[in-house]
């Protein structure tokens, strides 16, 4: 782990992989450090914003003493394992890019569905829109590039793939991910506590709905 300054009010931790990110975010949250205003997990980094009145130098020193459990980020249960805290997302597969993804991966459409549903995914971080979660840890054969041109409008509930991630659009928005299905799961609801269905660290399994 390497700490770099991010302006005069925040720090960014450079880490090796998504698993380390999950471990660090859990550790920082559980340590309940008084000088932390916000923690922003991302692909290979964690940004830590200092609370008003806290010096970033002091915060950097405190972070060096946070105890991190490396096991936290590695929980990738096998296909047979069922977890109590697993969130099941029911998907009607057949999005506009399912055929393309089938060709790009060589799996064919049915193979893509099988690979997407066979293993659990983990929420690595949020961003892009309220309730959007970057899911990692799925079948590595599903890694596909973004579309060459982004769509101006992707419907709410669209399930997509891009790079090492899978994700679900929480509301209609422009987007460049390859769309392979749709779900009616409500990703973001301000009248729900907590409003986000998928939060960093959560385990997600996709399930194909027969229509």
């Amino acid at each position: 782990m390497r700490v770099r300054p991010y302006g005069d009010r925040a720090l960014i931790l450079d880490l090796d992989d998504a698993g380390e990110v999950v471990s660090w975010v859990s550790a920082i949250r559980e340590a309940r450090l008084p000088g932390v205003a916000d923690v922003v997990p991302a692909a290979r980094t964690v940004l830590v914003a200092a609370a008003d009145g806290t010096d970033v130098g002091a915060l950097a020193a405190v972070l060096q003493h946070v105890e991190v459990d490396p096991g936290r980020g590695e929980a990738e249960p096998s296909a047979a394992e069922v977890r109590d805290d697993e969130i099941v997302i029911r998907v009607e597969y057949g999005g506009p890019d399912l055929g393309d993804v089938g060709e790009l991966t060589g799996l064919g459409p049915d193979g893509v569905v099988a690979a997407h549903t066979a293993t659990s995914w983990r929420v690595a971080f949020g961003g892009f829109a309220p309730g959007f979660a970057y899911l990692v840890g799925g079948d590595p054969r599903l890694q596909v590039p973004r579309r060459h041109t982004a769509r101006t409008s992707v419907p709410s509930g669209a399930v997509g793939l891009a790079g090492e991630y899978s994700g679900i659009y929480p509301r209609p928005s422009p987007g460049g991910w390859q769309l392979i299905g749709t779900t009616d799961a409500v990703l973001w609801d301000l009248d729900r506590d907590p409003p986000a269905l998928l939060r960093p660290g959560a385990t997600v399994r996709f399930e194909a709905v027969r229509v």
């Binding site: 991010y6 302006g7 005069d8 960014i12 692909a43 961003g127 309220p130």
Partner: protein, 284 residues
Amino acid sequence: MRELEVVRPGPLALVQDLGRPGWSAVGVGRSGAADRGAYQLANRLLANPEGAAAVEVTLGGFDVAARGGDVWVAVTGAPVELRVGRRVVDPYAAVCVREGERLRLGVPKAGLRSYVAVRGGVDVPPVLGSRSRDVLAAIGPAPLVVGDRLPVGRPPRTYPQVDAVPVPVHDGDVALRVVRGPRDDWVRDADGLVRDRWTVSPHSDRVGMRLEGPPMRPAVPGRQLPSEGAYRGAVQVPPGGEPVVFLADHPVTGGYPVVGVVVDADVDRAAQARPGQSLRFRWI
């Protein structure tokens, strides 16, 4: 109940407070007043508690009427000509708007965002602990429109200690101090940021201030940075090479390299820079 009725919102009028920190992990940024110093000053002029919601008015033109009683207001930020009824009054001071009277803001000659605070605060329902409108996340009170009635909260028990404060200068060249990195090595020549003169683009908003100038070239063309957390003041260089300075409603994560981050004390100044204004950076 005392209210402010919106007669004309002007180009953009948004309810703002100190924002909602702590929700980044689920994709909601902090938001809040773009010029925090001006917003806090307006509240201090009225002895409001810290964090009382006010109205952020972009490029003036805001016009409201007091309903249900007299309302004390203070206007700070980009200096505007201010009228209460037919009287011309000073910004940067507490002013009483009598029941039925109108408060009208002119157009600022310099600066971009003015803050209209009311004694007691704008008492609309909070969303995730804040009354701020986040234009990127589309969370919080909707942009104000004609006919909106803004409830005014109960006045605080304390009384203002100051009548008026000096108006800061908003015109001339903008100079912003920047902490180098974290991804300064992702562009071929990060020093271009402090060497060149930049012009504020008309495509700037609360998400980010876009700059026009000589494009900054990537160190390795086509190399993609994995998404990372962002923060107010971050100077991000998208593929086009013209930097963007993240303001209050910036995305919580971004995939383009951040070559430097404007020091927190200078971000308010960035939020007041107008399209066409000249701007420089300086490493610290």
